[in-house]
């Protein structure tokens, strides 16, 4: 539930641009690492003192990718923001980790914020981490809540120099990061899809209330994924259509490709939600089916024995003049009658397919 609103109230009344980290502290030490590259060179190092290193980071004509892991040391982030001339509201949004995915154009730089998702093994619960990207003239700044390995393949591609990576500008780097993020959505959705199949199987075998709870959790998680991917789609669309000098025509084609992927993810999410609804319907119908079957069988047993008990009751009466009681074959006869009545009722019910 915490995910709906992460105690925003902490900030109520503070002036805008006040930097307060909203969200859990997920990392002990904040780490700022830089990958600086152009077609011929790659340079990797960590930033110790932002103010001193600022000019190098900002003005070198190579592509500078600054990655920040951890958001709790607000002082350093402020220094970074001052260095690159970020608007106070952008810094505030980076720190508030319950942002809606969006893209904002501030002229000199573009600001992108979205969610990276993870999924614990054998669980339907989806964890999210907020990622912010600043795309400038010669630099990209990425902010992560914790040290995640998701961007590692991109770093690897920069190091190896294969593909277009090193030949293109910072906009292509942003594309690569988005692409990796969206590919990650596919992986997580695959896992969730498998869980849904498991749930559907379990519903058919043992329709317990516990399974019902898990279906509802899955449904809510899908709702969250939908909520994160939908505005991301819009943001990417806005990015690819922008006639900004920051995003080149040639990168636009790649962004439209990522955009298509977000559409596929949304289709998959819709499908999974549909499947969860079906599983829910299946649960309800299985439970009610089982109950109906049980009640029908029980009622049939009762219904067969009640008339027999009545017959037995009749010959338990104490009337003085009851001729049947005197008959030699009375007792076997009554057994025959009772068995006959019982069996014929059973056959009648069976024939009517009542059980």
């Amino acid at each position: 539930m915490a995910r709906a609103l992460m105690n925003r109230s902490k900030k109520a009344g503070l002036p805008p641009g006040t930097l307060v980290h909203i969200g859990q502290k997920k990392l002990d030490v904040q780490r700022i690492s830089v990958v600086d590259y152009d077609e011929s060179t790659v340079d990797e190092y960590e930033v110790e003192d932002i103010q001193r290193q600022c000019v190098t980071l900002k003005e070198k004509p190579t592509v500078t990718w600054i990655n920040v892991d951890g958001l709790h040391e607000t002082e350093k982030l402020k220094a970074l923001g001052d260095c690159f001339g970020l608007h106070p509201l952008v810094l505030e949004d980076i720190l508030n980790t319950d942002q809606r995915p969006k893209m904002e154009d501030y002229g000199d730089y573009l600001y992108l914020v979205f969610k990276m998702i993870h999924c614990k093994a054998e669980s339907s619960v989806v964890l999210q981490e907020q990622i912010s990207l600043i795309l400038g003239d010669t630099f990209v700044i990425s902010f992560q809540e914790q040290e995640e390995k998701v961007f590692e393949p991109v770093r690897e591609r920069i190091r190896s120099g294969k593909g277009l990576m090193r030949k293109m500008g910072p906009d292509y780097l942003v594309y690569a990061l988005l692409d990796v993020t969206v590919d990650n959505y596919f992986s997580v959705l695959e896992k969730l899809g498998e869980n849904i199949e498991v749930l559907a199987d379990r519903v058919l075998k043992i329709p317990e209330p516990k399974t019902l709870g898990e279906i509802q959790i899955s449904k809510r998680e899908m709702l969250f994924v939908h909520r994160w991917i939908w505005p991301l789609r819009e943001a990417i669309s806005a990015l690819s259509k922008r006639d900004s000098k920051l995003v080149k025509e040639s990168t636009g084609i790649y962004l439209r490709d990522v955009y298509d992927h977000t559409l596929q993810i949304m289709d998959a999410v819709d499908l999974y939600r549909e499947m969860l609804s079906e599983t829910l319907d299946l649960y309800v119908s299985t439970v009610s089916n089982k109950l109906n079957q049980v009640m029908t069988v029980l009622t049939i047993i009762a219904t067969i024995f009640i008339p027999l008990t009545f017959l037995a009751g009749v010959y338990g009466m104490n009337f003085k003049y009851m001729p049947e009681l005197e008959w030699r074959g009375g007792y076997p006869l009554i057994w025959a009658v009772m068995i006959g009545v019982g069996v014929s009722m059973l056959i009648a019910f069976k024939r009517k397919k009542w059980f």
Copy 2:
């Protein structure tokens, strides 16, 4: 229910522009207080006689924030309206406290009306108060139904002179008031969210009809919040996009930030409504589950004893020639048979997982 339509019929047939206060009188004395500031000075005082003080209020080049608490003294409001040249329909709207949130451009000034919400402790009922803002060249007029402390932090920031507050114009003041209002929505929603969690827990423990009623109340309250935030979002959007001389470019960025917050609130409201629907489903399924369980157990008890009663009935018959009755071990034997039948039925039902 009163919130749906606050006896509007009081006004039926009156000519437009007639000033009638629609809504409850929430305050004894109407109070008009002024905060007048620019970058270097702050001046706070109360207005006693509007007509006399009008020129000062209106023409001083500093930012003049006039706050009106209470709407029942229509005479004074009329004087205020005349002083600032407000259209009679604007005054009428300020007094009708069941307005839909909206923004209207009257050329010389903008008129904004929206709802401030409050939430009683440990209750799901949301109270609302209508707030109207007039944004002019050098002044902002705010109208509140009662003396609320929600705007106090803004006043505090003006006094302290920290941040951008004193450096910016009246449009930034409007932004600050909207920001405080929207932050307040976050606080109230957090409380409502906690109530919803409590409800969900209670549903699982004791699914009483009373809980059902509370879920429905919560759902309706969420509907109201949705109804108040949705048009507010539109109004803020219109404000931020307006190419009016009254809203500066630099303030536009801040307004878009508030706009993003309204989107987050709407997401949260949607999520809470989803959760309430789930809680409702949970209630229904818990109740029906409990009933099914009870009925199954009861029916099983009956179903086991009915054949046994039949057997007892058989040996209660008074036939003259019933050999079993003469047997020495007949009685213990029949007990054995009856216990056997009962236990094997029990085992069969258990094995079929009927209970």
Copy 3:
């Protein structure tokens, strides 16, 4: 049901422009009354012979409001239409009283048609009457199906000369008529709202099928109101945005105010429909709750007595050798056992909160 389609088939095959009054004749005598006013004079009279009086009505520079009560004397209406140069289709629409509210611009005049609603005391049934307005250069013609007093306050305001009424042109008169109509919607909705509250109370006390029927009637009535107000909203919006010489800029502001009122009405209608849905859910859950309770209690009674009956049956058997039967205290003992079994079952069920 008649309201869905008022025997339109009467007209099938007739050429367009044929004047046939579709709808009930609600009035005996058709009455054409005129209010002719400008800032200084007011003149009221009835029209006897349209053809003769036509020139006066049409060419006098004062504002001429012609009100027609009753639509069955098609001859007179045709004369009126000829006099003011109305298109045959407009006259046809005026007579077909099942029009969808709409606004049409015929260049020289605007045609507006909408529904006035009424509500019988202590009933949820909403009655409607079709009202047509023609707004010309210097005249307004209004057509009513019956003599209703709803427009009386407007007439009163013209007579008194207070407010803007006499200072403004015929477009303001149209606004005033629309305003009165929309205010009337508020009154009727208030009454309906009270009925809904009464229904909700009754559902909780005595959930009869009759109440269910009334809820459904209320829902359908709300549907009708929604259907009448929705296109009216559009018509008013079109009117206020029109850059026609017939609607002045200054009147536009007033029309936007009425437009806001229609939005509020639609919000109220939505809310009432939501409340009716809740009431329906409440009905269903109350009925099923009651049934469940009854069935549970009945089944518990049966379930307690069935094993006891079995015990009694056991000692009613006629085996020769049943030692218990010989015991002196056998009979009191069996009573004790039976009471013990019954009471402990009762306690067990109670503890499990089964009733």
Copy 4:
């Protein structure tokens, strides 16, 4: 079901423009009749040889209305198409009688296709027939699947020369045909509406599964009508807004009138669907109500007699020492007790309003 897709597969793989009649052959002999008129003359005749008569039909300056009944003689239709220069795809669409209603502009002529509906007496099943219209410079060609009398009133009006019919061009003729068609929708809907009322009454009296089936058929028919009227509405709208030389300004007003009628039909269809949903709800609630009542009464009967049977069982026990059995008044007493228990249970249940 055939109506969803009329064996289209017959055409799979054929090149476009291949003329195959898809649909049932509803007529034995194809008939091509012509009405040729202007303000002063009317001429009616049948076409025998299209190729020979083509020049006359096409180039005479009078309005030429060619009506084709029956679509199975594709040769003749091809000749007609060649004569008037129709695109092969238009001819193909005319023959495929499962077209979606639409309007297409081919420059020299407009192509309109829509559905005429009929309704068998006392049935909820709606039959449809596809009608195609070609509007050219001086001619209108109409294609019907069978000889229907629906267009007769238009022919009658041409003959009589009353009204605008003979004074206006072919666009007005198209309007007249559309108007007659739409009026026919009203008639059919009225009949369907009556059937729905009958269904609602029957549901309340005898809620049989058969009635349920009829409600569902009615719902599906309404779906079909909705599906036919919705795109027709669009087509008429496109026609009335077209700035084509083929549709005159003056006819545009009339087309907008027909457009308004389609809106009314859609409102009526929506209302009927709403009513059918209500009837369905009513059916469900009536059935479950009846069942609940039956089960409650039956269970009450059982619940009253089970304890009494227990009591009887007690005094049927064979204990040696049962003092009550020796009492003179024992037997009447036990009757009194049993009647007392039964009656007090009955009263208790009645008081709790359980039946």
Copy 5:
């Protein structure tokens, strides 16, 4: 389920433009066949070595249709892409067989991707195959996952030289392929429609849980078809409206015709989904109806015998003074009473239409 996301994770982290075939390998040997034609000549051959034959394929002024069956030999596809200057992302999309149908304009060529559907006999499961089309100046390249005969009729038409096929350019060929594909949708939907009718019949006869499963499968398949046809519709619309030199005006009319067919398919899919929902409702109501009937009859049997058993129990009591027991006619009398009670209960229930 595999259809929702075809292990995309295989590609996670790979740089864009990496050619990996996602999907099942459906064919052993990849086959590239060419049909080269203009108005006078047709030439058919297979491509062995793309690099060598490239110039011929590309620069010959005739229309060159290159058809690729099988997508697993990525090397050859790369060579083909290089030859025709296709963007790496296009090749990647061709290989990822879980694309959303779409149309993309790359200036020199258009890229179209969509789904061909098949349906196993007597099954509701729909199989799909991804088809990609490249439309260039003088060439069309089509990519199929397996060797399907669906495009054979088009090849046949090219060979025969009948119709417009050979007279028009490559855009008309693309139209012909789309037309064949869409016609194929009609065939498959017809089969599915027949299955739905069979399901509806079975539901009425034997409402088994198995049937329920099949209804749900059918519903999901319809969802898939809807998902494939919806974006195809958009793609065709974009194609027909494009003012690209690649699609001629005259072909646009044909494309709009295919577009109309996709609308009809969507209508049919909607209708089938509606019918499946009805079938589902029918299933639920049939099952509950059957259960209600069974339970009512069983309960009636029990309810009739319980009072009779009570009566028998009464005369089984052992009171010393029970005068009835001494009567000569006591026994026949009690039989008469019991039969009387039973029959009158039966008549009463019957009269109340309880069974």
